[in-house]
């Protein structure tokens, strides 16, 4: 095992990936919801 600092890149990679996947799904779902609601009102 190396120094603790060696692994920080792995930690950030994991967090960025997790939040990209879950955040992306959340944003796209919320935008679709708003779009469909707008269409329903029209």
């Amino acid at each position: 095992m190396g120094e603790g600092g060696d692994y920080i890149a792995f930690v950030w990679a994991a967090y960025v990936t997790a939040f990209a996947i879950l955040g992306g799904l959340t944003v796209s779902s919320v935008f679709k919801n708003r779009k469909l609601k707008k269409q329903e009102k029209e």
Partner: protein, 250 residues
């Protein structure tokens, strides 16, 4: 028990679902944001590094809750599938269509973060270990359900096929859970697997607290996504019905 079923049946009505879902959505969304902020602070700054894994142990706080939620999402799909196939609740069918991509996202998060954790810990991005392979099968099951739900021109048929696959795939859940006990695996056994272990966990409280806070945040996010996406499916279905009615009338 009858009261529980009565409540579920009441919610199976789309109008009532919307009435209950709206306030619940805002409550869980605000809770999710608060728990994510708190959980990220604890996970990235307040929790200690592991004596052996050093900083890489922090990956646990995004990896383990994703694994829990991927299994929970699948269990909820299976229950919805039963409800759809036995009682023909359309809302349950729409829930399957809505939640399958959410479950797939949690599974993908678990697999990718696990792979990133695996390299510094095991020296390999991927091993064909029983736990990893059964999680990959779970991702394929989610992909199959998403594909089947859209594979037919008739949406009802698609929902029925997806519901059957959801039920068949339940067999994979105990395999994932007990894979680390049944086979010799590189993946470590569960540290928190039952209520007795929660009382006396293998994890120190300085690591257990951020893990549980992040799990709470993931759970709230799951509820938000399930509500928003089920509502989306309801609106798409209503728009399609209106289009068909319009073309028949005139």
């Amino acid at each position: 028990m009858n009261a529980v079923f009565a409540n579920i049946f009441t919610l199976a009505n789309p109008t009532r679902f919307r009435r209950v879902a709206r306030p619940l959505l805002w409550m869980t969304a605000v809770t999710a944001v608060c728990l994510f902020v708190w959980g990220l602070y604890l996970a990235l700054f307040a929790s200690p590094v592991d004596y052996l894994q050093q900083e890489s142990v922090r990956i646990m706080y995004v990896h383990v809750p994703a694994a829990w939620l991927s299994l929970m999402a699948y269990s909820s799909l299976a229950m919805a599938a039963l409800s759809f196939l036995i009682w023909r609740h359309t809302l349950a069918g729409l829930y399957i269509r809505a939640v399958a991509p959410v479950g797939a996202a949690f599974t993908a998060t678990c697999l990718i973060s696990g792979s990133i954790w695996g390299y510094p810990t095991w020296g390999a991005w991927w091993v064909w270990d029983a736990r990893l392979t059964s999680m990959l099968v779970l991702l394929f099951l989610y992909a199959g359900i998403i594909a089947l739900a859209d594979a037919f021109d008739n949406r009802e048929k698609g929902m029925k096929a997806a519901a059957w696959l959801s039920l068949v795939g339940v067999i994979n859940l105990p395999i994932i859970k007990f894979s680390v006990d049944w086979w010799n695996t590189l993946h470590q056994p569960a540290s928190i697997s039952s209520f007795s272990k929660i009382a006396e966990p293998a994890l120190h409280s300085s690591m257990l607290t951020p893990l549980l806070v992040m799990a709470g945040a993931y759970l709230c996010l799951f509820i938000v996504l399930a509500i928003v996406r089920t509502e989306n499916e309801m609106m798409v279905r209503r728009a399609e019905n209106n289009r068909v009615r319009g073309s028949v009338n005139g």
